[in-house]
Symmetry: C2
Subunit: 207 residues, 2 copies
């Protein structure tokens, strides 16, 4: 039982004519007719019968078409699972932080990171007083820094994106935590950063 041919039978059940199936699947009626005939031969049962100018499914054809639907559903489900895997965040994300902020963010981050397989965090504590702290963005995917102007009075910022004093351009990548698909899309476009940046998952030339 070939899946591709079963799919044709399913289409025939839904669309009602070989010509319709042919146009829907970008084929000629001839090809569809031939493939259905091959399927009939494989199965060993008449699956269609003429009805006026067109054809209709026999009892056997209908039941077989139903099984084809089940298979098609299974395949779509499988593809959905795969897409979920591809779009899931993954990879190694390096974070520079300083002790106070680290105590704040890291435990929660580690928890969510541990919950997503394939995602790992590399955290390193730094001294926020160093003059070139912003330059750390060259070496890390995420840098947690003080606002140079000092924090406004009020509750401590609760999300990474709140360090609004950073210009968006300091982010070399739109999102440090990238999905597999994003990481795999293209080799880095001449990144000036040596060890970090939009590195691809593997040095493979194809992926």
């Amino acid at each position: 039982m070939d899946v591709r041919r079963l799919e044709l039978l399913r289409e025939l059940g839904e669309r009602g004519s070989i010509t319709a199936v042919a146009t829907a699947t970008h084929r000629t009626p001839s090809a569809v007719s031939q493939q259905l005939k091959v399927l009939e031969r494989e199965i060993g049962f008449p699956l269609t019968e003429r009805s006026g100018r067109g054809i209709v499914l026999t009892d056997a054809g209908r039941t077989l078409a139903r099984t084809a639907t089940d298979i098609a559903v299974a395949i779509e489900r499988a593809e959905a699972v795969w897409n979920a895997f591809v779009d899931a965040p993954a990879g190694e994300v390096s974070i520079a932080t300083f002790p106070t902020a680290g105590q704040m963010f890291i435990p929660g981050l580690l928890k969510t990171a541990a919950a997503t397989p394939g995602l790992s965090l590399v955290v390193s504590d730094r001294d926020p007083q160093l003059p070139d702290f912003p330059r750390l963005t060259n070496d890390f995917d995420v840098v947690l820094a003080h606002s140079p102007r000092g924090l406004a009075a009020g509750p401590t910022p609760a999300s990474l994106s709140m360090s609004s004093s950073w210009s968006r351009s300091t982010w070399r990548c739109p999102s440090a935590i990238r999905s597999r698909a994003a990481r795999c899309s293209r080799p880095p476009t001449s990144s000036t950063r040596p060890g970090s940046g939009c590195r691809s998952a593997t040095p493979s030339s194809r992926c």
Copy 2:
């Protein structure tokens, strides 16, 4: 995502080496390697990586192989459904009976026949006193007749096969109620009976 290639990946996950998959699927290692490479290309992810002399699935490869298993299960289930359809009793079964026996058997038969789609009974009452009653087997799939020796004392026979006075040879077919597969297996082998006998489901030459 081609199902055949996914199947190869699944096999690779289970068997662990390309050579093993190749022998299991009656192919050369070369062919398997090439198909896996095509799959990798289609998918856009590295699915395998070298490990010593052999190869192992990557994370992506494993998840994709799992989806392949799901698809394989769905296909097997579909085939099981189809086989159930093929083996189910079906067709038109003609029965000759006489009033007394008919009252006995027919209601139950009609009930079970109605419960099995594709199976229809054609019942006709006859006079059991006619001299050529046994000849009716030429025209009917099942003939319910008196035992010529008369019934022994005791409870009424409760099943068709109890008319033990008939020789087995009076049955032209092993079983009057045939499955679709049996009916479809071969055109009748020069049956002497015109309208009945092991007739095939359709006059089609192939089936």
